[in-house]
């Protein structure tokens, strides 16, 4: 029922969700010795998700490693947290409008 753009929006939101999960895991593991910051390559993975592949998780390179072998930066994770939130809100708003259009077509068509 929904068009192609809406289906891609859904995939986009899925990908933002995956990324947000990695951010929460990074924040939870901020004091875990040897833990490396995990992320996905967003643009690249979006393309492959549209092609029907699962996102690949990578260790983020070039972060400052602390004495305990952990390289989680709270500043980076805070940025990612709000970035993902904004991306999700944007996609959600567009998708919501599209669903509203369809609903109004259903409701107004019957009258």
């Amino acid at each position: 029922m929904l068009d192609r753009v809406s289906q891609q929006l859904e995939k986009y939101m899925d990908l933002v969700t995956t990324r947000q999960k990695l951010v929460t895991a990074n924040i939870a593991n901020i004091d875990t010795p040897g833990y490396r910051t995990k992320d996905i390559q967003f643009q690249q993975e979006f393309q492959s998700l549209v092609d029907g592949e699962e996102p690949r998780v990578i260790d983020v390179p070039n972060l400052k490693v602390k004495n305990d072998g952990n390289d989680v930066s709270l500043d980076r994770e805070a940025r990612m947290l709000s970035e993902n939130d904004l991306r999700f809100t944007l996609a959600e708003n567009i998708l919501h409008d599209r669903i509203k259009e369809i609903r109004s077509a259903i409701q107004e068509g019957g009258q």
């Binding site: 969700t17 995956t18 895991a25 004091d31 709270l74 805070a78 709000s82 809100t89 959600e92």
Partner: protein, 145 residues
């Protein structure tokens, strides 16, 4: 793909930081304890974390089995400080040895206070992550309105 397992990840982080804060507070409270049930002075304790898969329900467990990327955290062990106790010359003290020295725990309150601040901040970080995820879930639900 469920956002609910992200909530479990943040919850595991909060619980781990809370355990650590409990140990740090215990250290501060026992900074002058010269007598313990095991004998000898109190010894400083600290928590070591390790990442772990979170499992809150069957669906999440299944998710974790399918793609092991959502790593929570848990306290893997509690390390007890094995350094020699600090000797202070207090001949009148009931725990004094034959030379008049009392063994005190080797605890540096500043060290524990700094760790406590870090623990509190990281706990807040987990709360921020949790509320961001909660908002995302709420907005997904609002799509149906």
């Amino acid at each position: 793909m469920s956002l609910f397992s992200a909530l479990s990840v943040s919850a595991s982080g909060m619980s781990a930081q809370r355990s650590r804060a409990e140990l740090l507070v215990e250290n501060l409270a026992n900074a002058e304890t010269t007598h313990t049930p095991d004998g000898g002075p109190y010894r400083r304790k600290d928590a070591v974390f390790q990442s772990t898969d979170v499992s809150s329900s069957f669906a999440d467990m299944f998710q974790v089995e399918m793609n092991p990327q959502s790593a929570g955290v848990e306290v893997s062990k509690i390390v007890v400080d094995q350094r020699d106790p600090e000797k202070r010359y207090m001949p009148g003290h009931p725990d004094a040895d034959k030379d008049g020295y009392v063994s005190f725990p080797r605890i540096n309150p500043s060290e524990d206070m700094v760790d406590l601040i870090s623990s509190t901040r990281n706990y807040e970080g987990n709360i921020a992550a949790m509320s961001a995820v909660k908002d995302m879930i709420q907005r997904s639900i609002d799509l149906l309105r």
